[in-house]
C-alpha cells in the first residue's frame, strides 16, 4: 500500500487515468513530444503518446503495480530533457478551400466576421509546425494558427470526413489523412496522399515538421490528384 506521505512526494503533474494508464500534464507541446519520446525509448511502457498538453503511458498492470509504475514515471519525469533536434523539414501542403471540400468555411467566416479571401489569406500567411500525429494514422495536428482564426470543435462529430480534409479548431489546423469520423469544422481539402500503407514509411507528415499551406483551385487540385495516382 502506498502511504499518504509517499503520495505527496510524487510529481503533482502525474494523474492516474485508469488501471493501466498514467498521464503527465505539461505546458508545452514540444515538452510533451520530448517526454513521450524519452519514455518510449526507456522501454518501460507499452505505449507512450503525446497530446497537446499531456503525455499518456500504458503499462502492463498484470505484472506491474500502479504504485511502481507511478514511481518509475516520477523518476523519469525528473530526468533532464534530451537536447532538441536539428532544423525540421518543410512540407508544402496545397489546399482547395471551401465548396464541397470545406463545408464549414462559410459558417466559420460568418462566426469570425471575415470574408472567404480574408480567411484564406490569414490561413496561408504563415509557417506552421506539426505538433503531433494522432487521432487516426497520419492525422496531423498543425500548430501556430493566427489568433483571429480560433473556433471550437463541432458539437456533434461527423460520421464521415473524407481523406485529405483540412479543418481548424482550438488554434490548430487538422489534416485528415484517412476517411473516417471527425469533429473538426472543415475548411478545405489537400490533394496530397498523407498515409500510404504500401510505403516503407507510410506517413507523409511527422511530428515537428514545418508546414506551409498553398491555396489551389479545383482544377489544380484534380491535376495534383492525377499526378499522384500516376506516380
Amino acid at each position: 500500500m502506498r502511504s499518504r506521505s509517499s503520495r505527496e512526494t510524487l510529481d503533482t503533474r502525474i494523474l492516474v487515468c485508469g488501471d493501466d494508464l498514467l498521464s503527465v500534464s505539461l505546458d508545452d507541446i514540444r515538452a510533451c513530444q520530448e517526454l513521450a519520446d524519452r519514455l518510449r525509448d526507456s522501454g518501460d511502457w507499452l505505449e507512450s503518446v503525446a497530446g497537446i498538453d499531456s503525455v499518456m503511458v500504458q503499462f502492463d498492470s498484470a505484472t506491474i503495480d500502479i504504485d511502481l509504475a507511478t514511481k518509475r514515471l516520477d523518476e523519469e519525469l525528473r530526468q533532464a530533457p534530451d537536447a532538441p533536434d536539428t532544423e525540421p523539414e518543410l512540407a508544402e501542403v496545397p489546399i482547395c478551400y471551401g465548396g464541397e471540400f470545406g463545408p464549414d468555411l462559410g459558417d466559420i467566416c460568418e462566426q469570425l466576421d471575415l470574408t472567404r479571401d480574408e480567411f484564406v489569406a490569414l490561413h496561408v500567411g504563415r509557417e506552421y509546425r506539426v505538433d503531433m500525429l494522432g487521432f487516426t494514422p497520419g492525422f496531423a495536428y498543425v500548430g501556430g494558427l493566427d489568433d483571429a482564426l480560433n473556433v471550437p470543435r463541432r458539437k456533434q462529430p461527423r460520421v464521415r470526413v473524407e481523406a485529405g480534409s483540412v479543418g481548424i479548431a482550438d488554434g490548430r489546423s487538422g489534416i485528415y489523412a484517412l476517411a473516417g469520423p471527425g469533429g473538426w469544422p472543415l475548411i478545405g481539402r489537400t490533394p496530397l496522399k498523407l498515409f500510404d500503407a504500401s510505403e516503407a514509411d507510410p506517413f507523409r507528415l511527422h511530428a515537428g515538421m514545418r508546414i506551409r499551406f498553398q491555396p489551389v483551385d479545383r482544377d489544380e487540385f484534380d491535376t495534383i490528384v492525377e499526378t499522384i495516382a500516376q506516380s
Partner: protein, 315 residues
C-alpha cells in the same frame, strides 16, 4: 488450402492481436473487438490464441471450405449449420472439402468468431494481421470480406486433446452488461450531479456502434470544457463526454487522441466485452479504484489460466 466467402454478412473482417507501441504515430490497436472469444476459438483448433480468424459483425455469414479443415465458432449467440446440419458453438468441428458453413444473425452479442486450424494467412502490416478499416490496413486487402473472396488457411500445427470449451470457460453473452471502470483524466470536469450519475445510470447502447466505439444513451452530462479541450491520448475503453453530453465508449479501433473530456476508463479486465455490445443492449458502469481493478484483473487471469495459459496476452 483456402476458404471461400459465399455471403459476407454486414461486416466480416480478419482479426488477430492488436497493434502495440504505435499509438504515437496515430496507429490504433485494432484486433479482435472481443479478444477473449478469438482466443477461445483458436484454443479449440490448436492455434496460437491471437492467430488471425474471421470476426463476423451481427453474423449472417456463409463460407465454403475448399479442403478438409477443423474449425470452431465462438462469441455472439447465433444459429449455425454445416450443409444444413446444426452446429454447436465452443466445440472443435470438422468440415470436408466443399462443405458450406452458414452462421445466422446474432441473437445476443455482436460478433461471432470463426477460427480455422492453421489460422488465416494474411499480410502483417505494422506488426499485426488485423484489419483496420478506416486506413484499409491489414487483414484481407485492408477491407471487409466480400462474396467470392478466397482466404488462405495456414498449416495446422497440431490439434488439441480437448474439443469442447468447459462450461465454466464460456463467457456469458447477454443483453445486459456491467463494465468495471475507473475515473479518468477529466472526471473532475463533470458537474456534481454528473459525477453522481456516471456510475449510477442504466445506459443503452445507441445505434451508432462499431469497432471504433459506441454511444451510451440514457443520460446527458454537463462538462465544463467549452469545446476547447486540448487533444489528448485516448485508448480502447476510454469513455468520452463530448459537448452534446452523450457518452461515447471507445473500442478496439479507438483513435489515438481525442478532443473530448475523458471521464472514465473501462478496466482492462472488462475491455474484451466491448466487442459484444450491440445497439439496444443495457450497460451499467461499476466504479472501481485502480487497485481493486488491478486485483480483479489478476484474479481473472488466475481463473482463466487453467484453460488459456496465455490469458495475459489476451485480456
Amino acid at each position: 488450402m483456402t476458404l471461400t466467402v459465399i455471403k459476407p454478412g454486414l461486416q466480416t473482417t480478419i482479426q488477430a492481436g492488436p497493434r502495440v507501441g504505435m499509438r504515437h504515430l496515430g496507429v490504433p490497436a485494432s484486433g479482435a473487438a472481443d479478444a477473449l472469444s478469438l482466443a477461445l476459438g483458436n484454443r479449440l483448433v490448436g492455434n496460437k490464441l491471437l492467430a488471425p480468424a474471421m470476426e463476423a459483425t451481427m453474423a449472417g455469414v456463409s463460407v465454403r471450405f475448399d479442403s478438409d479443415t477443423s474449425f470452431a465458432l465462438t462469441g455472439a449467440q447465433a444459429s449455425a449449420d454445416l450443409n444444413g446440419r446444426e452446429l454447436a458453438f465452443h466445440t472443435t468441428l470438422a468440415a470436408r472439402a466443399g462443405d458450406e458453413l452458414h452462421v445466422g444473425l446474432a441473437r445476443t452479442g455482436a460478433r461471432v468468431y470463426i477460427a480455422v486450424a492453421g489460422g488465416f494467412v494474411v499480410d502483417e502490416i505494422l506488426g499485426s494481421a488485423s484489419t483496420y478499416l478506416p486506413a484499409a490496413l491489414g487483414g484481407h486487402e485492408g477491407r471487409a470480406l466480400r462474396e467470392g473472396d478466397r482466404i488462405a488457411v495456414g498449416q495446422s500445427s497440431g490439434m488439441p486433446t480437448e474439443h469442447e470449451t468447459p462450461a465454466e470457460f464460456r463467457p456469458p453473452v447477454s443483453r445486459t452488461w456491467a463494465l468495471r471502470a475507473c475515473r479518468a483524466s477529466e472526471f473532475a470536469l463533470l458537474d456534481d450531479n454528473g459525477k453522481d450519475r456516471l456510475f449510477d445510470t442504466n445506459y443503452t447502447i445507441g445505434q451508432r456502434a462499431d469497432r471504433m466505439g459506441m454511444q451510451l444513451e440514457g443520460a446527458s452530462f454537463n462538462v465544463s470544457s467549452q469545446g476547447r479541450m486540448a487533444s489528448a491520448p485516448v485508448f480502447p475503453g476510454t469513455i468520452q463526454c463530448p459537448e452534446d453530453g452523450r457518452l461515447f465508449i471507445l473500442s478496439a479501433d479507438a483513435q489515438t487522441t481525442g478532443g473530448y473530456p475523458r471521464v472514465a476508463q473501462v478496466a482492462r479486465a472488462d475491455r474484451h466485452m466491448l466487442g459484444q455490445l450491440r445497439p439496444g443492449d443495457h450497460v451499467r458502469l461499476l466504479w472501481r479504484d485502480t487497485r481493486s481493478a488491478t486485483d480483479e484483473l489478476r484474479a481473472k487471469h488466475d481463473y482463466w489460466r487453467e484453460w488459456l495459459p496465455d490469458i495475459a496476452q489476451v485480456v
